[in-house]
């Protein structure tokens, strides 16, 4: 009897092992495919020429495969959206975890998370039809489809990620730390700034990095509202073309296995490297500054 149960246990264990392996294998195969399709471009252009090249003219004769403006576009929208989303997300998280009444928290948190459920194409459409004419009117810029508009829309999308994960981090700070601080006579504000935030900094950093990684990989929004000029932006009201927008716009029409096709996959490799580093960094931070017990503060 016990033999049968042990056997079953073993099979269930194997099953779950295979399930876990399946997602890793998929990721691995996608990465292999990405590299296989992207690397051939480097027979046409050097790595340095590809990454630091200033001109992206993949279809002209002779073609130019320089993605520096695209990288700068991606970096630009990610940084500006982080500047908007991080304070908003983290402060909302602190409010929800520490200040808001439990009842309010039960209502606000799901609503913020609902923001993450908004399809990106809807946000993009909103940016294109509502925000772009508004920006053009108010700031008197040449076009409303620009870096600032895209960053604003991306901030909308990364706030839920940042807020929700930070809130979990802040909420999970041991209650004894808070009680000790208050018992020593600190006000609630001093407790939040000096005790709660330092204790949850690893969780908050992870949240911020994952939020930024969402912003850098987001495609639909930047395709619709970033403007799409393959130029290094000089002001936040300049149109830009982040890497995902370029891939999405051009892939469908690129001749199969031609150099343009390979160049787009190579752009994908660069993008993948970015998000991979972001995630690795998030992982590192969350391990290094992890709050273990109450003694390490």
């Amino acid at each position: 009897m016990s033999n049968i149960r042990q056997n079953r246990d073993r099979w269930i264990r194997r099953f779950f092992y295979c399930v876990a392996l399946a997602s890793i294998t998929t990721l691995f195969l996608i990465a292999v495919f990405l590299f296989m399709e992207g690397l051939p471009i480097f027979s046409k252009v050097s790595l340095k020429g590809f990454i630091f090249g200033k001109y992206w003219y993949p279809t002209s004769e002779p073609p130019d495969f320089g993605i520096f403006p695209l990288i700068m576009g991606s970096v630009g929208v990610t940084i500006v959206s982080a500047i908007m989303a991080v304070p908003l997300g983290v402060m909302t998280a602190v409010y929800l975890a520490e200040i808001a009444s439990p009842g309010l928290r039960e209502v606000v948190k799901p609503v913020v998370e609902l923001l993450a459920a908004l399809p990106s194409v809807v946000i993009g459409f909103f940016g294109m039809v509502v925000v772009a004419p508004f920006l053009q009117e108010v700031f008197d810029v040449a076009t409303g489809l620009n870096l600032f508009n895209a960053s604003l829309m991306l901030a909308f999308m990364s706030v839920p990620t940042i807020c929700s994960l930070s809130e979990d981090a802040v909420y999970s700070v041991p209650i004894s730390l808070k009680e000790a601080s208050l018992a020593l006579g600190a006000t609630q504000w001093e407790t939040i700034i000096r005790v709660i935030l330092p204790a949850s900094i690893s969780g908050i950093s992870t949240a911020v990095i994952l939020g930024m990684s969402r912003a850098i990989g987001e495609t639909m929004v930047v395709l619709m509202v970033a403007g799409g000029a393959a130029m290094v932006p000089l002001s936040i009201f300049d149109p830009v073309r982040p890497m995902p927008a370029s891939i999405a716009a051009e892939m469908a029409e690129a001749p199969f296995r031609g150099s343009h096709y390979h160049a787009l996959f190579a752009t994908g490799i660069v993008l993948f490297t970015f998000t991979f580093l972001f995630n690795l960094f998030a992982d590192y931070i969350s391990h290094k500054y992890r709050q273990v017990g109450e003694a390490t503060l």
Partner: protein, 272 residues
Amino acid sequence: MKKKIYLMMTLALIFLFSAGPAFSGSIVIKGSTTVLPIAQKISEAYMKDHPDARISLSGSGSGDGMKAIIDGTTDVANSSRFIKDEEVKLALGKGTYPVPFRVALDCILPIVHPGNSIDNLTIDQLKAIYKGEIKNWKELGGPDRKVVMISRDTSSGTYEVWEEKVMKKERVHPGALLQASNGAVVQAVAKNKNAIGYVGIGYMDHSIKAIKVNGIEGSEETTLNGTFPISRPLFMFTRGWPTGDTLNFINFVLSPQKGQKLVKSAGFVPLY
């Protein structure tokens, strides 16, 4: 003896399955988004005429359609450009020969915001704008406002025509805004009084204003008689000379009474 029967059965099965779309009464169409409205209208009419026919239609770009023809995942590929040498080589390598059919003409109109006072530009002026040499509408006799040029992604068929007919193979300035479809260009121009863009004649509507090129208005007549400088033929490609349902479909498309009428109602210029 028995072995022979098995062999024959296997062969019969292989033939049965490999024959695929040709016998099942279904046609797969993929490719250019420019040709999509034409293909949509014609497919609907064709299915009405042939109740047993099933057409699956998708639009994801000329290059994608060619890819599908090469891989054999489609019967008909729509394309807003002629096939490239690289693609012919790939197709021959896979043992198929793509056959082109000219199905309609497209005429690409430069467009501006309806509030813009400019209504005629020469090809050279258009070229100068898209090269980034003309930066202000003032230089063209318009108001003192910055020109915002809107272009298509460099791999779209529409861009290729623009590059060939207007830019004469020179590069569009990198500061040009990129939009991924004709519809998006219309949207962007309609929302921006500084903008200039270009779209296929099928996408022309009241939210934007078309401008004359070298004094010639872009229309069916000027496209057919060849005077409008920015026009191009649109194609459907098949895998080898079409047979069966695919042949019926192509004949339907080219028929002056049926397909070509629908080409016109889709907003393109018919062949006859």
